[in-house]
């Protein structure tokens, strides 16, 4: 102990907060840890340490940085098609050096326009908001917050990233092939996606899309099985399921959704591969195209939609639930208040998870599906508003009479709640089959889901990065730049997506290269230009974040051990935790993760690893029993 006292930056908090772990470790080992974070892998080759790492923290960073690269690309694609929508008559000649043959006589090729929206959707939904968000934070936080040395299988975890990487490389390559990338929409509905005669993007581009998605699904399953196993089996002493931070509950349920839903996408992709390459007719029937009647008979394109949305709908919850979990955590920490209704929050997460599997056909009200099914799915869909509402009300109650610190993470968490409300409420319109007759596939849908699961999930991602950056890199991100980033993005997002509702209510269809051919949709030229400008500015604003992120990795202010005075276990590790996370024994857990501003306690937070016996003054009656 005396040795430790001489080294002040060695997790003093753990000691002060009554952590029992570090005391048991021989002092010599500690000395080593001071200078080398990963003492156990002292002589490890950099290739194994940074590239083929099995450390969940390193893998999380790999997911994050890959996700960020994809986000830049996905955002760039959206800027390109917003240019087209904002200035349909304008010349794009100046983009020829980049886009080459996709610009003809100053005009964007309409088929390439579809490729742009397709790839934007695919990249954002799968590569950024699934892999980049859930992949990063499930990996990073699960072992740290449940008190585990690493994932249940470090090797599988590493494979998970490298399958994602492989999938990324293939998808990226598809952008550069002769016939262009997939262009049938991110939902790749056949027959359009099955027939290269229908659109060039359904040639090699679609093949690469499918191959890439297969690897992506493998990556998701390897990751998901690992997350579930880790949460179930590797929780530290005392960490019962009812003491888990809401982040972990969210990641846990997200992983279960992924494990159950992604295999169905795999089956859909596989059947589509058969239809494309081996002459089967799962999704094809009675088709005459390019001067030829195809021999396929008896297939159903609607079957594909069922299979796709059986993944596709849980997928939007796979995207949003981790963000919900992190936002709950950030809100409680920075409002210095326990999250309101902890059990109701878990209950609503479970409710949303269950319901998410029985609402998929609300994407298909007008696809020719039996109208009776439409009634059933309308009923189930609108029920989701109830648990979602509970979450919003609980977040509001968490802020009520708090003592709010506006860190950059907190701002993004508040922004998340605002966007989730704005986008979620219009879901009540779209979930109503009757109203969906008019709204289906219009910009109203685009506005709805961009707010509720696009922008909101991004805000959750930003909240997470700003909040856990000190734990990831041992340094702080610049808060001022964070504020500017937040306000620019927040205002920008609303300027982009609120007007999109107006365009949608008028019936303007999505995935239209130009609206100029229709009298019914042509009254919004100004508004479309407005949206485009706002979108491009908001996108450029993200470079503030990128600069802040990479600058802070190397030059940021050094972090303290628990910069946000948070209660959860990850802040009991050293500032730069090595592989294994805790240098000594893993701390045990005694209490729930939200003892903020507890009456009777001097500090306004009591970490999870502080036993009740040390907090006599603040214990509630039943806790007092546990202390004795």
């Amino acid at each position: 102990m005396s040795d430790m006292a001489a080294k002040p930056n060695l997790s003093p908090g753990v000691q002060a907060q009554g952590g029992i772990g570090t005391a048991a470790v021989p002092a010599t080992e500690h000395g080593d840890h001071l200078h080398h974070d990963d003492h156990e892998h002292h002589d490890q080759h950099w290739l194994w340490k940074y590239v083929f790492s099995q450390d969940h923290k390193q893998i999380a960073k790999q997911f994050l940085i890959t996700g960020m690269l994809w986000a830049v690309l996905g955002g760039t694609l959206s800027s390109l098609f917003r240019l087209q929508l904002g200035w349909p008559e304008g010349s794009m000649e100046w983009l020829t050096p980049v886009l080459g043959k996709w610009i003809q006589a100053g005009k964007l090729n309409p088929e390439f326009y579809l490729a742009l929206v397709t790839m934007h959707g695919t990249i954002m939904v799968f590569f950024v908001l699934t892999a980049g968000l859930s992949g990063t934070f499930s990996n990073f936080l699960i072992p740290l917050q449940v008190g585990a040395r690493d994932m249940a299988s470090g090797f599988m975890n590493m494979l998970s990233y490298w399958f994602f990487f492989l999938s990324s490389v293939i998808m990226f390559a598809s952008l550069f092939i002769e016939t262009g990338p997939a262009a049938a929409g991110w939902t790749i509905y056949p027959p359009l996606s099955a027939l290269p005669q229908a659109i060039p993007g359904s040639g090699a581009g679609m093949t690469l899309w499918l191959v890439s998605m297969v690897f992506f699904i493998v990556s998701q399953l390897l990751g998901g099985v690992n997350y579930v196993t880790t949460v179930i089996n590797l929780r530290t002493r005392g960490m019962s399921m009812s003491k888990l931070p809401l982040t972990i509950w969210a990641f846990f349920l997200t992983a279960i959704l992924g494990i159950l839903a992604f295999p169905v996408l795999f089956s859909a992709a596989l059947l589509l591969v058969f239809d494309r390459s081996f002459g089967t007719s799962f999704f094809l029937s009675d088709i005459y195209i390019a001067g030829q009647a195809l021999s396929n008979q008896g297939g159903s394109p609607v079957l594909f939609q069922h299979l796709f949305w059986f993944l596709g709908h849980p997928e939007v919850y796979i995207v949003i639930m981790p963000a919900m979990g992190m936002v709950s955590e950030v809100l409680a920490t920075n409002a210095r208040k326990p999250i309101f209704g902890y059990r109701a929050m878990i209950g609503s997460l479970i409710g949303i998870s269950l319901l998410s599997f029985v609402v998929w056909a609300h994407h298909m009200f007008v696809t020719g599906m039996n109208p009776f099914l439409g009634s059933v799915f309308m009923f189930l869909t609108l029920i989701i508003a109830v648990p979602s509402g509970v979450k919003v009300f609980n977040w509001l109650a968490t802020l009520w009479r708090g003592n709010i610190r506006f860190t950059a993470a907190m701002l993004f968490a508040i922004g998340f709640v605002s966007l989730f409300i704005s986008g979620g409420l219009t879901g009540i319109i779209l979930g109503n089959a009757t109203l969906d007759i008019q709204m289906h596939n219009t910009y109203f849908v685009v506005a709805h889901f961009h707010l509720v699961m696009g922008a909101a999930a991004f805000f959750g991602l930003f909240a997470g990065v700003y909040h856990w950056f000190p734990k990831m890199f041992g340094r702080m991100m610049d808060e001022k730049l964070g504020y500017i980033h937040f306000w620019l993005t927040f205002v920008g997002v609303y300027l982009v997506f609120m007007p999109m509702h107006y365009v949608g209510i008028a019936g303007f269809p999505r995935r239209y290269y130009a609206w100029t051919g229709f009298d019914a949709f042509s009254q919004f030229a100004d508004l479309n230009r407005f949206i485009s400008i706002a979108a491009i500015i908001a996108f450029l604003g993200q470079f503030i974040f990128l600069f802040n992120f990479f600058y802070s990795i190397f030059r940021g202010r050094r972090a303290t051990q628990n910069p946000w005075n948070s209660t959860t276990l990850e802040w009991t590790t050293p500032i730069n935790p090595g592989h294994g996370n805790w240098p000594g024994e893993i701390p045990a857990v005694y209490r729930w993760p939200y003892d903020y501003s507890k009456p009777g306690s001097e500090a306004d937070f009591i970490p999870q690893n502080v036993p009740y016996s040390q907090t006599q003054s603040s214990n509630l009656p039943y806790e007092q029993d546990m202390a004795e």
């Binding site: 005009k107 359009l192 509001l396 289906h440």
Partner: protein, 357 residues
Amino acid sequence: MTALTILLVLVLLLVVFGLLFRLQILTSIFSGTFTRDIGMSNSVNAILMLVFLIGGGAWFAYSFAENFNKMNPPIASVHGHQMERMFWTTMTIIGIAFVITQTLLFIYSYKYQHKEGRRAFFFAHNNKIEVIWTVIPAIVMAALIFAGWKAWTRITGAAPKSAVVVEVMGKQFNWLVRYPGRDMKLGVINYRMIDAVNEWGFDLSDKSALDDFTSNEIHVPKGVPVLIKIRSRDVLHAVYMPHFRVQMYAVPGMPTRFWFTPTTTTNEMRARLGNPKFNYELACNQVCGGSHFAMKATVIVDEPDEYQNWYAAQQSFSQKNPEVMAAFKQKAKPSVSKTAEPAEAQEAAPAPLAATY
């Protein structure tokens, strides 16, 4: 102009941000509370929360009102008017929820900003409140579900027997339209018989196909139920007629349908809008390829007697295309002639996309 407005808004925002920040520093220096602690940027952000609520709310209200007419194109079907009422009722309900929750969010953020020495209220749960805000939304949802379900069953229910029938078929990148002719029966079609002339694939060995006629526009009578039968012959399309609140996918291999009752003729609507060029439009609303955005048909609502006259004046496909008829007659004999071949070859080389936009 809009570019300037947005830029101005953003610049103003940054200026406000900067000014508030400076002001805060100056006052804190004067009052001697200048510390590099939570304090100053915290209250700046708290104030910005309030600014955002008021400024954002004002902008939203203004732009919503300004665009309200544009976002409400005229409606011309019986169920369309009912849907419209339901839409704006639902919008009002979610609007109320929107205003309450957003206001609380930003007011709380402002009001409960960090203050030195104050402590947050330890308030972990309250079952009563939880039950209230679970049950109230559930009741509202139940009402919306019930209303939606009733309308949905009515709209998607079987069309009245008196409905006039028109069939549309989507193909890359236009809509084909046919009517059942005098016998009021749509004849058999077969996608294997499609060629450049026989775009529908009429099987003229079927007697009821002989009087079917095709049209470039969709004519429907006012005040009479219209049943639209929908097909696709290549990829997915969707029949979308925003003025009638009609939408249904066109699925290859699976005929679909939608019925509605038009309430206003094209001429009446032109007079009402003061726009002699007005037309009801049918747009494709499921991505179907490069020229998806240009896949359009015109719908004309006639007075019933006008419609009758128009209908009676049409010449059937078989009459218009005697050579196709002849081919079918020949086909009835054992040796099958392949007259369709050259036509097919012609269509196999579709016009370059560039020509369509």
